[in-house]
Structure formats: structure tokens, C-alpha cells
């Protein structure tokens, strides 16, 4: 067909990127953008059943201002986030520093610390509900074997949040460890050796060399962990459902509860958008942190 003997170099076709990105864009429109638009519309409606709502202007947003349950949920969210994030990061860092040394069996140890990441939130939830069962759980049975009294764990408003925090930290340390290990391996060994020759002790090297070198990683991990904590749902849903009372109802639980238990779709949508706003702040912070990290590297 072509009169040329050699085939001519092709020009980049203009349609090509649209074909490659098309499926993603269509799926995005149907299952991401459209639901968000509907959610915004719902937040200005009073809707008990799906579909036919009544426009109520900003009433849902005004309700939020005076809602004591929302205040409880926000406070619980802060407690949960402050309880989980620094703890998981500190343990992850300690493990990473320890496992960055040439230790016997460190490959196996790294894998073991990582294993909890594999389990689904629901699976973690049911296992931990069983372990912390007040009557037959192994936690209380072990305490009894040591001659100590059992704890109420998830059944008391005073201990439920703490138990949840312990469980979520457990799921998260492997992730923090892996990210920190990656960063530690990029610190040149000569730097540490030079510091050792200069007579710096192990702790001094950690404080003055490792911690500052890890600062970009720490800021990324901090923001990621905050976002994870704000979005944590499955484990809480399975273990406490937000109870006892409202003692473990975090914001995302409250959104779910308003939509499905209380059938207040409009109000749930408004609460959801509040959550998005909070997440937006942290995502922007995260991007700034990532950019700063790139500059530093």
C-alpha cells in the first residue's frame, strides 16, 4: 500500500493518550466524581429514604454546630489519632534501627514484624475481639494465670479506646518499620563510621545523625499515619461498633452510623464532607512534606 520502500517514521497520534487514559477517566467519572457530586447535593437535603429528599438549605451544617455527639466523635478521633500515630512510628523506628544492623536471622525477623499487614481489618477485628473477650479471651486467662485480675477491655468505656489503639498500633508497626528501614539504608555507612571514629556514642549517633537524616521520612510517615487513622473503619466496626456507649465512635463511624443506623442520609453526607475537609488539610500538608523531602534528598 505504501509507496515508500522504507516505512516512514510515525508521528505521535493525537488520539493515543485518550485511548490509554480513557477507561480510567470513564470509571473515575462514574464511580468517583458522580458519587461526590451526589454527596454534596445530599448534604443540602433532608433524606430519610434513598432518592427523594427535601431541600433544606444549610440546615444539616447548622445541626452539626450544636451536635454534642459530633463533639464526642471529634474528641474520640483526636484521642485515637494521637494514641496510634506516634506510638506506631516510635516502635517502627526502634525496630528499623535494630534490624538495620547485621543480626543473625534478621530477614526472618523483618518478615515476622511485617506479617500483621497481610491480615484484613475484619480478620484483625475478630481475632482481637476473641483475644480480648472478657470471659474466655486469652488475654484475661493469661492475666489470671499470673495471679492478676482480668480487665474489661472492649466492654468498658474506660478501656475500649485504649484496647483499640493497641490493636491498630499492632497493625501499623510493620508499615512504619519498612518505610524507616528503606530510609536508613539510604544513609551512607561512611557517615556513621566517621561519627564513630570521632567518638560519638551509639545514642549520640542516633540523636545527632540518624534522627535528622530521617526527618523527611518522619514527616511523610506522620501525615500518612494521620490519614490512615482518620480513615480507620473496619477494625473499629468489628470490635466495638463505636461503643460501649459512644466511647469509640470516631468521626468516620459517626458518618456511617448516621447514614445506616439513623437513616439520616443528608446529615451523614454533610458529616462526610467535614471529614473530607479535615483529610484535605492533611493531604495538602502531605504534599508539602513530600516536596520538601524531595528537595532535601
Amino acid at each position: 500500500m505504501s509507496p515508500h520502500v522504507e516505512s516512514p517514521p510515525r508521528r505521535r497520534a493525537r488520539w493515543a493518550p485518550y485511548v490509554f487514559a480513557g477507561p480510567a477517566a470513564l470509571l473515575f467519572l462514574a464511580f468517583s466524581l458522580l458519587p461526590i457530586v451526589i454527596a454534596i447535593a445530599l448534604s443540602f437535603q433532608d433524606t430519610a429514604t434513598l432518592g427523594d429528599g427535601e431541600w433544606v438549605g444549610t440546615a444539616n451544617y447548622e445541626t452539626m454546630l450544636g451536635d454534642p455527639l459530633l463533639r464526642t466523635a471529634l474528641w474520640n478521633t483526636v484521642l485515637f489519632t494521637v494514641g496510634t500515630v506516634p506510638t506506631a512510628m516510635a516502635i517502627g523506628l526502634a525496630l528499623a534501627v535494630a534490624l538495620n544492623r547485621p543480626l543473625p536471622g534478621r530477614g526472618v525477623l523483618r518478615a515476622l514484624f511485617f506479617v500483621p499487614m497481610v491480615a484484613a481489618g475484619v480478620v484483625v477485628g475478630v481475632i482481637m475481639s476473641w483475644i480480648f473477650n472478657p470471659d474466655y479471651g486469652v488475654a484475661n486467662n493469661a492475666l489470671a494465670a499470673l495471679g492478676l485480675g482480668g480487665l474489661p477491655w472492649l466492654t468498658s468505656p474506660r478501656t475500649a479506646m485504649l484496647t483499640l489503639i493497641v490493636v491498630v498500633v499492632w497493625t501499623r508497626i510493620g508499615f512504619c518499620m519498612v518505610i524507616y528501614l528503606g530510609a536508613l539504608q539510604s544513609i551512607p555507612a561512611e557517615l556513621r563510621e566517621a561519627a564513630a571514629i570521632d567518638g560519638a556514642s551509639g545514642w549520640q549517633r542516633f540523636r545527632r545523625l540518624t534522627v535528622p537524616m530521617l526527618a523527611p521520612t518522619t514527616s511523610i510517615l506522620l501525615i500518612l499515619n494521620v490519614v490512615f487513622s482518620l480513615q480507620a473503619f473496619d477494625v473499629i466496626y468489628v470490635m466495638t461498633g463505636g461503643g460501649p456507649g459512644f466511647s469509640t465512635t470516631v468521626l468516620i463511624q459517626y458518618v456511617f452510623r448516621s447514614a445506616f443506623a439513623d437513616a439520616r442520609m443528608g446529615y451523614a453526607a454533610a458529616l462526610g464532607l467535614l471529614l473530607v475537609l479535615i483529610l484535605l488539610v492533611f493531604t495538602l500538608l502531605r504534599q508539602r512534606a513530600t516536596r520538601r523531602a524531595e528537595e532535601l534528598l
Partner: protein
């Protein structure tokens, strides 16, 4: 001499301490398996034990007989494998377009994708359900598959990786007269197998473990996935030893992923780490 031996002692002490911590970290999963193998009489007691006196597979037999666990596993496997296969294709295409083409609307598309990362599913749950119901998909595995095909994190990982594919390679293919699709499939894709490995493992794990969305769109007991089925079992009065049954299903839910993890440990860790990078 004494200094090296002292150092060796400290190294072994550290290893011992880490092993103790690791045992604590792995304990919940160990306990899941142990409880699945413990007869109801012993697990429903206040006795402290670490291994059952008379291990049994009765919990498995019982729960598999009473609940459609095989069906759940089949559903999970279908949803996870078909969903992952399609989603990886979508992500590779989008990642390639964003990395290697300049086109009208690229910035907008990129920004729009970025925004969806922080929209938690709980916010769009009801509207997404409305869309799915309008499409007549409720209770079908496609209701679980379709809305999760668009995977922003996957697209970002793909884009990031493809930025590293040399432009010279693509130009050379074009000079040889290869068309756009041919260039992609014959030249670009073969350099992307590590990327595909990460995307497949991450995609499969997330779909296998997904809970909230399947919980909302799947209704009949026969059409549930394993995590949803598992959540319906807790405190089910139909069982004589509910916790043993629950732990048996939990074990069945975790073991496939554990095997994947052990076989592809490197890719697995790399994949999870790369979700945190960007």
C-alpha cells in the same frame, strides 16, 4: 578480644529481645490458628493454654457444613482476580498516558485523580450505592468489581514507574514504524514487569481484604465475600463453639495471602512501601 566478645553478646541479647517482641507481634495470628484447632469445650473456658490438649479440625468441618464458606472463597477469588486483572490494565494505560504524553486535559485529569485519594469510601458510600443500583448490579460480583477498577494509587505507581522508561526507547520504536498500541505492548510493557508484579500483589490483597463496599452491595448469604461472611459469623447463636468457627473462617481468609506474602515477599514489601512514597 574482649571487646569483640562483648559486642557479640550484645548482638545476641538484641536478637533475643527482638525475637521476644516478634513472638508477641505474631501471637494473634498464631492464636487464630490455635483457636480454630481447639475444641469448643477448651476454648470456651477460663483455662490458660498455648496449645490445645486435643487438636481437632471439627471447627472447620462444622462451619464449612453450616455456612457456604467454599462459595465465599470462590466469590472472593473471582472478585479479587478479575478485579485485579482489569484494574491493572486500567492503571497501566492511565499511568502511561500521564507519564509519556502531553495532551489537553492532562493536568486536570491528574489533579482530579489526586483529589479522590482523600475521599474516604464512607462519604461516597450511599451515592455510589445509588449508582450501582441504577445499573442493576446489586448482589452481583460486578457490583464489587466495577467501582474499584479505578485505583488512584495504582495509577500513581504506574505513572511513577513509567516516567523512568527512556523516551529514546519509545522514539526508536516509532522510527521503526510501530504504531501507538504496538509501541506500548511490544516496547513499553516488557520493561514494566516489576511494576505489574507490585500492582497485581497490592490489587489482589486490597480486593481480597476489602470489607465495607462488599458489605453494602452484597446481600444474599451465597454471594458474600470471605471478610463479609466472616463478619456475619461473630456471635452467631447457631454454633455450639462460635469462636472456634469464626477463627476457622478467619484462618481460611488469611492463609492464601500469607502464602502469597511468603512467596513474593520482596515485591509485597516493595508494593506496600510504594503506596506510602507518593
Amino acid at each position: 578480644m574482649t571487646r569483640t566478645s562483648e559486642r557479640r553478646t550484645r548482638r545476641w541479647l538484641l536478637t533475643a529481645a527482638l525475637t521476644a517482641v516478634a513472638a508477641l507481634v505474631v501471637f494473634p495470628l498464631y492464636w487464630m490458628v490455635v483457636s480454630a484447632l481447639t475444641p469448643g469445650g477448651q476454648s470456651q473456658s477460663s483455662e490458660f493454654y498455648l496449645w490445645p490438649d486435643a487438636p481437632t479440625t471439627d471447627n472447620f468441618t462444622e462451619v464449612f457444613a453450616q455456612q457456604p464458606v467454599w462459595q465465599w472463597l470462590g466469590n472472593s477469588f473471582f472478585v479479587a482476580s478479575v478485579g485485579t486483572a482489569l484494574s491493572v490494565c486500567v492503571s497501566l494505560g492511565a499511568g502511561y498516558a500521564l507519564a509519556k504524553y502531553r495532551f489537553r486535559g492532562r493536568g486536570l485529569l491528574y489533579a482530579a485523580f489526586l483529589v479522590t485519594i482523600m475521599i474516604p469510601i464512607q462519604v461516597t458510600l450511599v451515592p455510589a450505592f445509588l449508582v450501582t443500583a441504577r445499573l442493576g448490579l446489586v448482589d452481583s460480583p460486578w457490583a464489587v468489581i466495577l467501582p474499584t477498577l479505578f485505583d488512584v494509587v495504582g495509577i500513581f505507581i504506574a505513572r511513577q514507574f513509567m516516567l523512568g522508561v527512556p523516551d529514546a526507547l519509545i522514539e526508536a520504536a516509532r522510527l521503526d514504524g510501530a504504531g501507538e498500541l504496538r509501541t506500548f505492548f511490544r516496547v513499553v510493557l516488557p520493561t514494566c514487569w516489576p511494576l505489574v508484579g507490585v500492582l497485581v500483589i497490592l490489587g489482589f490483597m486490597n480486593r481480597w481484604n476489602d470489607f465495607l463496599w462488599p458489605l453494602v452491595v452484597l446481600q444474599g448469604n451465597e454471594s458474600l465475600t470471605v471478610p463479609v461472611g466472616l463478619s456475619t459469623l461473630t456471635n452467631n447463636p447457631a454454633f455450639t463453639s462460635p469462636w472456634g468457627a469464626v477463627m476457622a473462617v478467619a484462618t481460611v481468609a488469611v492463609v492464601p495471602l500469607l502464602v502469597v506474602f511468603l512467596v513474593f515477599q520482596r515485591t509485597f514489601v516493595q508494593g506496600i512501601a510504594s503506596t506510602g512514597i507518593k
